[in-house]
Amino acid sequence: MSRTVSTRCLFAATVLLAAALPVTAASSASQTSQKLRFYAVPTTVQFMNHADDRLRGMSTNPFNLKAEVVILNAKGKEKGNGPFPGDDILYGFKLFADAKRTKPIGTGMFTCYYEFVKRATCDSYFDLTKGLLLASGQVRFGGTHFTLGITGGTRAYFGALGQVDSVPATGNAQRFDLQVIGPRK
């Protein structure tokens, strides 16, 4: 490469870099962020016990023999009432803006698919007055503290990201603290 060409390339790169930097800064600066807090009271629950499917899966499955050893470790015996891998639990919630639960603001739904050691991947959505917020993540059965990632939203929460922290509240309620990061404007 000649020196002239090299200099031109360097100049072009500098111009491009200079042009790109302000754009990056502007993009992050224009991102909106808001905090929401609400209280959830469970209203409905359904446990789906897949014991028969698990048992059937122990004898008929797509794994090879080595994997089968792992599967048969449980010897087909389930101790306790689970939840065991493959079970799922559906939870319905009413959502309130205040801890006294006098101001309803929507409903929530959790669908949790259990894996091992009573841990589940939960998909949830919060149907609020201004729109829908989705969050997903791992929740341990019986665990009251958990954090989910906000994966999207609709209407006022269009393109939302962020996270949801959940802690126990008074009574049978859970408090949800949401940090909602909106889409770039």
Binding site: P42, H50, D87, D88, M109, T111, Y125, D127, L132, F158
Partner: protein, 177 residues
Amino acid sequence: MSRRLPVALAAVAAAAAVAVPGAPATTQGRSFVFYAKATRAQFINHADDRARGNITNPFNTEVLPTPPKANAGKKGARAGDNALISLKVYSDPNLKRFIGNATYSCTFNFAQEAICEADFDLKDGTMLALGPARLDGSTIVLAVTGGTGKYAGAHGQLTSTSSGDKKNTQIIRFQLA
């Protein structure tokens, strides 16, 4: 359920079909429409798992029982059942320009509402969306949570409505941030 599914599928398909003819140069800040038509549906009835779960479950006695009306009502889907719906996706309302396939994987929760994961496998990339749906032919609004290829980083929402025509076409409008 069997009567409702085709309507729901059609709605989903229609939404998918109206989309953009050809791929957008960039998906950011774009709105486009696809047209879709349902091709297959499978309903998974988990009545046995539900009945077993009502007796053998990890809850203690303090936990609320499932209210009788929660799963309810009309004949068809109950909490925990699944519906799988596949659609062909087109870029034109006449369903001539095929651009990919879509699958809706739904788990019913309460009051015949389901949480659905929609996967769009298009010629120029894929898109994922998630959210509640009633699957009764009414409009579905899902949040777009990601994608690949030309849709990498896609985020926004999709609205799926039935065209109301004989083809049961679904009109799917994507709005990306």
